[in-house]
Symmetry: D2
């Protein structure tokens, strides 16, 4: 089906050229809607499928304004900008088969990264002219591919309803920072779902290789911690200040000194610290961006408790108040054997797949796990499928790319699994 | 001489309403030039009296551009903007007396602070309508008064040349951050000066009180320290990173743990720390703004050596490189007894002075000390005079103000000292 | 009175040769008792004048046993060993004058230091054969002189009762660590006292110089802080431990980062840290010996609060419990003008005094201030007199010595002041 | 062979009752010699098989003296005390078979731990009366069993020479702290060895279960780090000190903040810190006992480099010198498939073995790996065999015990492997 593959590639390149950060995917979501409208049975977007209430880690009002301006400049209609332009950028599409069967949901994440794309001609998107047109932003994690596959899958299934049950395509905002899945779960996006699938391209696998289950996905929490003290003149009244910068430095060392856990993989990182205003003032404010990760949800919970204690202790020691916002969260990936088998079986029918592994390591974090956990909590099953992309450079770097032969592989594998009733 | 006082007050209010940050005092310097042109014997400005070569701590190109735009909007002529609009904002004016005598230089600093002025009607400048018109900027240290006194002194002396020797008025940029004096000294502004005077209003003294010598002025250095490491993915390859944020936190704790010095006052403060980009990346860059102060130049030098060792050690420990820029510097104030006596004698002839102290404490830093030290190094003498201003709030805060009766006090005292031949 | 001076010197040398640590001054106290018994009107020792209830910072049972053994070997009678051998080593002697007058108390501290005395022949006690006979212990702070002066003063006053009021000689244990005065105050040693005098030899003054008031004496608290965590195997279960060593390190850096205080002298030092047992076990216990000092009692109280917060915060951060014992305490020295004048007047009558200063700096701590504060609290007056000793090396070092000409100076000055009715 | 088992158990209990610390195993080694003398073909001990030159981590002279006294009291002959009583406590015994074959070396470690044995009657050694007679010392890691098995194996093989090649029994001192193997390797104990076997009882396996290869043994280094600064009076001259305690605290936080390594297990622990003398002195000395571990020798080497940098950086920051002694070292365990198969095959012939696993985890460290690595380096093969002991409490705790049915299992397994020619 070469023309489908061509469509798929064109779509991917279109998305690749227009990267948008998390919760700012206005143009991306608008294009998803435009491509699926009229094909699928149900199409929802914005707040009805994306509940932002109580979330931290959202873009600033200025960022939202800028994103709306850009989307308007790209021709997104005003009503859609009103629906999508305040953070709630999720899209949900539903296609029903002609036979009874399970409700299968598949997650496609849409956001890009604050990475400047390589302008080297050896970088394929640059050489072929579809590199990022948005300076400082790049699809450096393959989500452009995900969106293209999701749209094409929706149209194929709509065109041929010969499959059991129904399929729910979840176009998720803000996977980076593990922020968007919470909003969609909160809006009930997985209600009634029997089988939940995630799919990610790349992940150090060669093109032609797939894995039916990701192994070693780390549960994570992302924190923004605010320390508040009291300013004072550093020479005239140093003792009247309460030094938030010192508290933040102490918390940083304490967090990085949290011990490893036997039998588990853990990670702690304070990745950003901004404190104080100038050398001659005791710093009254400090912000710490921290993440914790673990290969076990219980271990993560324990690490979270200990990390909070470190922050509280630093605040106590330096006379500060501390507040921790959870700006992102995800769980480990539990992949159910039955679904894994079904994916392996589907893979056997895709000629372009040279090797189908049961599992492959994916030792990062992804909030598709929140969809998975929610479906499993209500009695369903799940897996997180990996599709090799032969990337010449690591995820999140300026030369990351995906061998486009991975696109039909992903598409055919998902379609096959759906048609086989998983 | 009420009309003189009135002029002086009007001038002060004009400057108060138009605050500009250090090295950006384009409009201020232009007004100084306009007010003195035609009166004084010699008037120089810009690079000839302000050598910025090798200085750190200068404004960014963007800040300079913004400042030039504002000055242009305020009617500063283009040639002056070209002269003054790239950081070299100093002005030097010279008035010769009719009799032989010493060359006396007096420093008047011109810059304001990044403080938002109070909009409370209890705040006099707000009540009387001359509060800052530049949002976020404020003359919260009395430099507006200094400039007004300097201009008026120049015009008075020019109008009546019956004094010995000559007077050099040094309108200095960027006293905040102790940056500007170095540039003027480097340009030779104190060449040939026999007596150097500094004058500061406020300093917790009541209006009507003056002190002929500041006591306890702290020598200082301001540092901007850059740590450079290596980024890496915090989950996938934490060991491949070299963590500049951890290095900066370690340096911060080490700097704040530098010991006190018997018999001296010392201060160390890391007032600003900016490191890293996001929670999931090992931070590769960190910037630390630090100041050290001491009541003795030798103690400051020792503190500087130890502080550098702390920074170097933190870099070594965390596999980083560290670079320290000195963005500001000043010395302690050594006030010569002979000049102090002369000022006290002049004070006795100013009726508005209720109390003239030999010394008063001024336990902050001021780079007028660099002018003083340079003049003393070449055989001259110096003092740093304080003029009470009855301030209702501390220096550098949004309700700082000066009782305007201090203005003629300062003016008459300086004029008297000059005419008496110091 | 050369033979008195000779006695005085002999006494001092005797004490110098037999140094004992704080609360272990069994032999010293026994000799004080023996020298004064039969001369003075009232002589008390042990628990009646030394209330140890609730004190931390006492010697260990083993140390007490060793000290009793040594005292027994030196011929101290068993009943005295029972009275003095369990920490309560204070002695109080009272001599009444023939005329009405104030009750004047004078403190003489008795303890030595854990310093090994120099065996260099240039060190006078070594050259003359009266260096410490107790290895590792030394009278390196002049308390040997104090005790000799106190005894001789008591005998002189007893021999000639022509003075007003009465004199109370307070032979205090454990001045080092500022521990012993609390015990004597608690036992009521200053009850009824009108004038309290402290006297210290040395303090960087030349022999022949005295000062009627010590200036700059720092209030202090000494803390022993115990952190308790949970041990675990460092490789098999690092996460099961709660690391007291890490908590202690964090507290150390936090304590040393407490800010200076404008207008005051402060000191913070963690001088001893003992934590953990071996490299392969997460350390479950840590002990931190810390002192804080300040030139103002209120500043000390604030520093104490902040220091406790640092310790509590470190405990919270690392999942530990923390307990702080106050092992020593003293106040600043407030010297009353009236008493200071009286001492100066007495000094004028001592020919050997070449210079009598009103004040001299003594920027260490001494718990004679607790006696002073208690007497002042109940309406009395006080001062702390310094007597120059021409020491060739600093206090607390192995070559510290006192020019013995200082002994009659101290004695005559105190006697003169007492006889003059202060 | 019940009487053999009885001997074995008696031997084990004898050793259990007389625990000795590393390099102090005088009585233990003397008993090994006595039990094997006259049976084996070659018997060497002391310096010829134990080269201590250049080793750190040795007992103090006082400890050695005490150990010699105890051994003398236990009846060890004076010449043996001279040979064994200065640290070189290793014993090597050689038994030759009647047929040609490989040289097989087996390591039996002899040292006990500074653990106080439980006096609870539920603790078998206490109930049966063979608990430690040496207060504060305990065989809490099963080395008593190892020695008993080694002796019995030597006697059995000597009694029946029907086996190929020859067997070298290595009775190693000081496995705790991974110190002794280095000394024996340095003395050439593995010269000519073709197959190296380690054996350890316990390790969380049930009695009746063995594993032919330990998996996950961590390479390690143990460090003793000395920081040297300069003392000074904490109140009078804090700035003249160079604070080793602060340096040690900084190093501790830096070491614990070393990042994890992707794909490897690592451990870092500062387990002991002793610094300073008293609260009022800037601490001039600090000692840090640290261990690092890794599941890969290269990762350990990298961790070692980074740890040294942390220590050097802390020294630089605080003006100290730092010296790191390596007091112990071991490698990961590489177990050769051929030897593992041979052990499994031998296990199949031991009826008491209920389960023989190919591998079992042993995520601690053991310096038998140095023997293994040396033999492998010279072309030989190796494995580290685990023999379940059904321990009721973890290794290194006061209730650790071994089900004595493990003793004949270990013995029969090793004998079988040797007789089968491995």
């Amino acid at each position: 089906m070469p023309e489908r593959a061509t469509d798929l590639v064109e779509l991917r390149r279109t998305f690749h050229a227009r990267p948008e950060l998390g919760f700012l995917e206005i143009e991306t979501a608008a294009r998803v809607i435009a491509e699926l409208d009229g094909h699928v049975d149900d199409l929802q977007w914005g707040e009805p499928v994306c509940d932002l209430a109580g979330l931290a880690g959202l873009p600033s009002p200025d960022d939202l304004t800028t994103a709306r301006e850009r989307a308007r400049g790209s021709g997104v209609p005003d009503p859609l900008i009103e629906d999508l332009g305040y953070g709630a950028t999720a899209v949900l599409a539903r296609v029903r088969g002609t036979r009874p069967g399970p409700v299968v949901a598949i997650r496609f994440d849409m956001d890009a990264l604050p990475v400047t794309e390589s302008d080297d001609d050896a970088h394929v998107p640059t050489a072929l002219g579809f590199a990022s047109a948005n300076p400082g932003l790049m699809h450096a994690c393959g989500h452009d591919c995900h969106v293209a596959v999701g749209i094409t899958l929706g149209r194929r299934l709509a065109a041929n309803r010969d499959f059991p049950g129904e399929v729910v395509l979840l176009f998720q905002p803000a996977e980076e920072g593990v922020r968007g899945a919470r909003a969609m779960v909160a809006a009930g996006a997985t209600d009634g779902v029997d089988v939940m699938l995630g799919m990610h391209v790349g992940i150090d696998l060669p093109a032609g290789t797939v894995a039916a289950a990701a192994e070693g996905v780390l549960a994570t929490e992302k924190w923004r911690c605010h320390f508040t003290g009291r300013p004072s003149h550093a020479a005239l009244a140093p003792h009247e200040g309460r030094n938030a910068l010192l508290g933040a430095a102490t918390a940083t060392l304490g967090l990085h000194a949290l011990p490893p856990v036997s039998g588990a993989v853990t990670r702690v990182n304070v990745g950003r610290l901004v404190a104080g205003t100038s050398a001659n003032v005791i710093a009254a404010e400090a912000v710490l961006d921290t993440e914790i990760r673990a290969s076990d949800d219980g271990v993560l919970a324990d690490l979270s408790r200990r990390g909070h204690a470190v922050i509280d202790g630093a605040a106590t020691a330096h006379g500060l108040t501390a507040e921790v916002e959870v700006t992102g969260a995800s769980a480990v990936a539990r992949c159910d054997a039955e679904v894994v088998e079904a994916v392996l079986s589907a893979a056997a029918d895709v000629p372009a797949i040279e090797e189908a592994r049961r599992t492959a390591p994916m030792t990062a974090s992804d909030d598709v796990t929140l969809f998975m956990a929610e479906v499993q909590r209500t009695g369903g099953q799940a897996t997180f499928v990996l599709v090799g992309g032969g990337s010449p450079a690591p995820h999140h770097t300026s030369r990351f790319d995906i061998d486009e032969s991975a696109l039909p592989v992903a598409l055919d594998l998902l379609e096959g699994a759906v048609r086989a009733g998983l």
